[in-house]
């Protein structure tokens, strides 16, 4: 009979990590993030510096910004612990709390998904919303409903996007010189022009290889699918995340986008490939959809969570007014993590009974309905682009 754990996540299999528990996860997580952070620094700092388009101080900014995000998050959590718990008012008592609480992560991830020219005070605001509002006020690590980094991201995106754009926006010092970009990222270009065509969406940014390696305009660390795949391989190897959640999430977006392209009149594989390589989908799928606290705990729940994320991302991206769709989808599914977990857990317990098959069918019908609605709705909103 299947056994289920209760209480706050993550649940560690002690045979995998016999000695240190959450600290191991923290270490593995940081190792996994390092190629993504380094690529973000390379693309927005070092490469631009080598091109002669920025100064040394500007070159350092992307790295400092990302690390600062983690640091700010940690300080805020430290202040929160200090105020709310009289037992942790010394550094010696505080550090283990911060470590086991993954205090660094929300700010770090938040900084990675923000545009390069986000003012530091906006980052502080985002860290406050993510760490204090999204995490600590819910009871701290393991009790939060929403992914803290994403909550900070959504708060910043909804309230201070104009400030970020006025401060310089998303393009680095080399990218502002590229006339072909015309001030638009691949997804904002789609949103503005509502034209689906390789020449319109891909050609201005090079080829789909540029999308894969991440040398396209976008938020600091979310553009490189390649770097994120390295992190993914490491996380799976170290069993930090379940391998199938990102695969199903990305796969669903690929398939639904492909069908959408076919319905619109362009059945080329370039469009679903473009869909999965833009808007931080890989970043969200590997680093946020797999977050143990805010996603379902049992494997079947994770599968359905990923399927829902896939269809919702297509819906929000191609029907909604915000181009990326990933962050919104994950936040929405955070809300449904607990009921989905319970629902799928019952299905697992019941096995292949009539009642569980009906429950399964209900979930599948929901997913198909969202996908069909997204495709039908988007069908009238886009035109197929011709060759330039």
């Amino acid at each position: 009979m299947a056994r289920f754990a209760a209480g706050k996540a993550p649940f560690l299999r002690t045979t995998d990590h016999p000695s240190q528990g959450t600290r191991i996860i923290m270490r593995d997580f940081m190792i996994g993030l390092s190629p993504i952070i380094l690529f973000a620094w390379y693309k927005n700092g070092i490469q631009v510096w080598l091109d002669g388009n920025n100064t040394f101080l500007e070159m350092l900014y992307p790295l400092i910004f990302i690390l600062l995000g983690g640091f700010i998050s940690m300080i805020m959590e430290g202040i929160f612990f200090y105020i709310t718990d009289p037992q942790v008012r010394t550094l010696k008592a505080l550090m283990p709390k911060l470590s086991s609480s993954f205090a660094l992560i929300p700010g770090l991830l938040l900084a990675m998904v923000l545009p390069l020219y986000t003012p530091i005070w906006v980052l502080i605001f985002g860290c406050f919303v993510g760490t204090i509002v999204g995490k600590m006020l819910f009871g701290g690590f393991g009790h939060n409903i929403f992914n803290p980094a994403l909550l900070g991201y959504v708060a910043v995106g909804f309230t201070l996007l104009g400030v970020i754009n006025a401060a310089g926006g998303v393009f680095n010092q080399s990218e502002v010189l590229v006339d072909a970009y015309a001030g638009a990222t691949p997804l904002s270009s789609l949103l503005v022009n509502r034209v689906i065509g390789y020449d319109q969406l891909v050609t201005p940014y090079g080829s789909l290889w540029n999308f894969f390696f991440g040398t396209i305009p976008g938020a600091l660390a979310e553009t490189s699918a390649f770097a994120i795949l390295l992190a993914y391989a490491w996380f799976v190897y170290r069993k930090v995340i379940k391998w199938f959640t990102p695969v199903i999430y990305v796969g669903t977006v690929f398939v639904v986008s492909w069908v959408l392209g076919m319905v619109l009149g362009d059945g080329g594989l370039w469009f679903p490939t473009y869909s999965i390589l833009t808007g931080g989908l890989f970043f969200g799928a590997v680093l946020m959809a797999t977050e143990p606290v805010t996603s379902p705990k049992n494997p079947l729940g994770k599968v359905f969570n990923a399927l829902f994320l896939g269809v919702l991302t297509v819906l929000f991206r191609y029907v909604g007014n915000f181009p990326e769709g990933v962050g919104t989808s994950i936040i929405v599914m955070n809300l449904f993590a607990m009921p989905l977990d319970r629902f799928t857990a019952i299905i697992r317990i019941d096995g292949l009974k009539k009642s569980s098959i009906i429950k399964l069918a209900i979930l599948i019908v929901f997913i198909i309905l969202i996908a069909v609605y997204a495709i039908v709705k988007a069908n009238g909103m886009y035109t197929i682009g011709g060759s330039l």
Binding site: T55, E58, I72, I75, I120
Partner: protein, 369 residues
């Protein structure tokens, strides 16, 4: 105090760190923002060392170009400590809204140095038709001219026009900031037409309707084939000033160039000898002829002077110039059909334009028959 610090040192350190990050980070962010603007426009002005954003004390009245065209940002560009140019970022409407175009204007020469599209939501496939040649027309574009003109690109007319509107705004803004004076019109050329009156045709093949701004009067004037002013046609009006006449020639030549392609250079009312020039491939083809005394048709071909070059595949069989021209004229004279001549397209087009012109002269002087 000491005990307070000892008791609360951790929270004080954390708070101080947060404040420090806020202040130093704020300075760092501001630096980055200033730098990105510098990087964005640094290729617009050679040897730019400093770009300073400023708010102009006066901006262009929104009634002039409409509320859709606005100034987004203004920058002073320095080379060392010397102010060398201004950069104006203008937002206007092309096919879509929010088209932002930056113009860099040299303060010494009053010329546009360069243009840059800062932001566009135009349809990509049409906007891509604005080629390098289109943008190059703004290089060293003097603002010291009567009208802002931009050569529009077929298929991207609305986008092209947006560049014109934005440049007009930039010039107005530039004039508000500096001692630059926008030239005002001395004369407006409203239309040009052929003079079809054989009595006055000699030396006066064109008639222009103009508005003399200074004298506030509209009049018809005779022009030569080269758009030079000859005399006033409208009784009771005073001739334009010398400056206005010069402007008239330039304006007519620019806006009514098709009239300069074919025209009568002379007509002798006593002998009925008519000389007409038309543009071929290698300059003008001059055709001299005799016409009937009632100005209804050609009676004979006198001479054709042509410098057209030969092309073996085309009119080699007609002999050297003006072989083809003579052949075509004879077909016109004999009222035979005139087919396009492969390999001599420009010559053919020049000659058919001449025939059309002759037809216009003859029919107009005979009541349109």
């Amino acid at each position: 105090m000491k005990s307070f610090f000892q008791k609360n040192h951790l929270i004080l350190i954390f708070t101080s760190l947060l404040v420090l990050i806020f202040v130093v980070g704020g300075v760092y962010s501001r630096f980055m923002t200033r730098q990105i603007t510098f990087h964005q426009f640094k290729d617009m002005v050679p040897d730019m060392t400093q770009l300073v954003e400023f708010t102009p004390s006066a901006t262009v009245d929104s009634e002039i170009l409409g509320e859709d065209t606005t100034l987004v940002a203004s920058y002073e560009v320095y080379q060392g400590t010397e102010l060398v140019s201004y950069v104006f970022v203008i937002e206007t409407v092309g096919k879509m809204k929010e088209l932002q175009i930056a113009y860099a204007i040299d303060v010494e020469t009053d010329q546009v140095i360069s243009v840059k599209v800062v932001q566009t939501k135009e349809t990509p496939e049409y906007f891509a038709r604005l080629t390098t040649a289109f943008y190059n027309q703004f290089t060293n574009y003097s603002l010291d001219r009567l009208n802002i003109t931009v050569d529009a690109i077929s298929g991207a007319t609305m986008s092209s026009d947006a560049f014109k509107v934005a440049l007009t705004y930039a010039r107005l803004q530039y004039a508000l900031l500096t001692d630059f004076v926008i030239p005002s019109a001395l004369v407006l050329v409203e239309s040009v037409r052929y003079n079809t009156d054989f009595a006055t045709l000699n030396g006066k093949p064109l008639i222009a309707t103009i508005y003399d701004v200074a004298q506030d009067q509209t009049m018809d004037v005779y022009l030569t084939g080269g758009f030079d002013f000859v005399e006033v046609l409208t009784p009771g009006t005073t001739a334009p000033s010398v400056a206005a006449i010069a402007e008239l020639k330039a304006s007519a030549a620019r806006d009514f160039a098709t009239f300069g392609r074919v025209f009568a250079t002379s007509f002798n009312t006593e002998t009925n000898a008519l000389v007409v020039r038309t543009r071929g491939y290698s300059g003008f083809i001059t055709v001299s002829m005799q016409i009937k005394s009632d100005y209804s048709a050609v009676t004979s071909l006198t001479d054709i002077v042509s410098f057209e070059s030969y092309y073996d595949g085309g009119y080699q069989t007609r002999g050297e110039a003006p072989g083809l021209e003579t052949y075509l004229f004879n077909r016109y004279f004999n009222e035979q059909s005139i087919d396009a001549t492969a390999g001599a397209t420009y010559t053919y087009q020049g000659m058919t334009a001449l025939f059309d012109y002759l037809t216009l002269l003859f029919t107009s002087s005979n009541g349109g028959e």
